[in-house]
């Protein structure tokens, strides 16, 4: 798993589960809270992988913790500059393009699998996937990280366009719970963020209240 993520020996990874789903009015992003090292030790069991880059744009980080923190810090900086220069909040597609630029141009040096999602007045809610390699994909929903492999089947059947906020919260929560259940590199708590025109609403499900699904 480490080699697949391109982590160097001893490097700290975010073996992780990330989900972002667009709904009628915005996006909901969710992640587990485990940061691991060496595939065995849990460095941080309450990590916040939902990272602010601007007031209505967040990114979900998987891969190398260091690489994704560095990239997210840079994108936050550039978006602050954008807001000052343009006199308005940056659109999500600008943030996604910035992520792509950094991840593509430095592709040999980075292990970063990022989902960029948020709300802007031009496009409403948007979800962009920027996998390792630095390609850009605008999607109705996205999943990333080592736990994502367990979710393609679930999301392909359970997702419908234009669900309500409550339905989408359930979808994201269930998805993360399923992946935590099967992926050793994902675990801990579920963090959700609901991003709409009105703001960012954070939800937290403590580790002992994460649904235990299946057998």
């Amino acid at each position: 798993m480490e080699t697949e993520l391109g982590l160097k020996p001893g490097e700290i990874g975010l073996g992780t589960t990330l989900v972002a789903v667009g709904f009628d009015g915005g996006v909901i992003i969710g992640a587990d809270s485990r940061t691991s090292m060496g595939g065995a030790y849990v460095v941080n069991r309450v990590t916040d992988k939902l990272t602010y880059v601007s007031d209505r744009i967040y990114c979900c980080r998987s891969g190398s913790a260091a690489d994704t923190q560095a990239v997210a810090n840079l994108v936050t900086y550039y978006l602050q500059l954008y807001a000052i220069q343009h006199g308005e909040e940056p659109p999500v597609r600008v943030a996604a393009a910035l992520f792509q630029e950094l991840c593509y141009k430095n592709k040999e040096m980075l292990s970063a699998g990022i989902i960029c999602a948020g709300w802007d007045k031009y496009a409403g809610g948007s979800v962009y996937g920027i996998p390792i390699g630095g390609s850009l994909h605008k999607l109705p929903y996205a999943t990333a990280g080592s736990g994502s492999t367990y979710l393609y089947g679930y999301l392909d059947t359970a997702f419908r366009p234009n669900m309500t906020k409550e339905e989408t919260i359930e979808l994201v929560k269930t998805a993360i719970a399923l992946a935590i259940g099967r992926d050793g590199s994902s675990g801990g708590c579920i963090r959700l963020a609901v991003i709409t025109e009105d703001g960012v609403e954070r939800h937290f499900i403590p580790g002992d209240q994460v649904p235990v699904l299946g057998i």
Partner: protein, 257 residues
């Protein structure tokens, strides 16, 4: 032919002999500037026909064996009379799209009424591909470039090594094994004679074979045609497939039940 199609461990995808995942173990930890392709576009086809050229590709961006992005457009117009089909790394294709768009815009702003025709676009792209190969930092792609300019049809191939050739029927990836013989039989010797309907049927039947036999092809394909009227790219569509004969199959040898 390498039967291990995993791009991460298959050495035929590792032409340059080193993989950055191992960079920390190589001399002094210096990172080499070649890559491992990640999101991967598969086979593409191109033929010359009566009214121009036609290209086809499925709409899949694979992630190893995972069919990760299933609605990706792999055909792209360059100006009004050229289209390209890509295979290989998707991020490098997105970069190439941007580069070619910039090229066409810059040429337009010279404002001399000259527009780069397909052979020009092809030459430019080939030079870039070979240059990147020489720097040991390739654009990890195989392109088919097709176009129709003032009555002249053009169909060319260029890849990550800078290899180029032109032919009346081109296919990449596993298509080079499965589809090329079918394309050649239908096209060679009849370049000006293939009608549009025949070309469509030809590409569809080759994509059908590839859907049957290539793990990394899905039944969602697009066609591009370039004629005197310009570039037209279809919406994704599916081809029919025949499975009924499988119902009666039992076991693998003499089993009857």
């Amino acid at each position: 032919m390498e039967w291990n199609f995993d791009p991460f461990s298959n050495n035929s995808f590792n032409h340059y002999g080193n993989n950055p995942i191992n960079a920390s173990h190589s001399a002094g930890g210096i990172i080499q500037r070649t890559q491992s392709p990640k999101v991967w576009g598969g086979t593409t086809l191109g033929v010359v026909y009566q009214d121009g050229v036609m290209l086809a590709a499925d709409t899949l961006g694979s992630w190893g064996q995972l069919a990760r992005y299933r609605k990706e457009e792999r055909l792209y117009p360059v100006g009004n009379f050229t289209a390209i089909a890509y295979a290989g790394d998707m991020s490098d294709f997105q970069y190439t799209k941007h580069m070619l768009d910039s090229l066409m815009i810059k040429e337009y702003y010279i404002n001399d009424d000259h527009v780069l025709s397909t052979p020009h676009v092809y030459e430019y792209l080939s030079r870039v591909m070979y240059h990147r190969r020489t720097k040991m930092d390739p654009l990890w792609n195989t392109f088919i470039v097709g176009g129709y300019n003032n009555g002249e049809r053009f169909l060319g191939y260029v890849d990550l090594l800078g290899t180029t050739y032109q032919s009346s029927a081109i296919s990449t990836g596993l298509g080079a094994y499965y589809a090329q013989p079918i394309l050649r039989k239908a096209v060679e010797g009849r370049e000006g004679l293939l009608t549009e309907a025949e070309a469509i049927e030809l590409l569809n039947s080759c994509m059908r074979v590839l859907f049957y036999r290539d793990c990394k092809v899905i039944n969602s394909i697009q066609r591009a045609k370039v004629t005197a009227a310009g570039v037209e790219i279809t919406e994704p569509y599916s081809v029919s497939s025949e499975w009924g004969f499988g119902e009666g199959v039992r076991g693998f040898g003499s089993q009857k039940q």
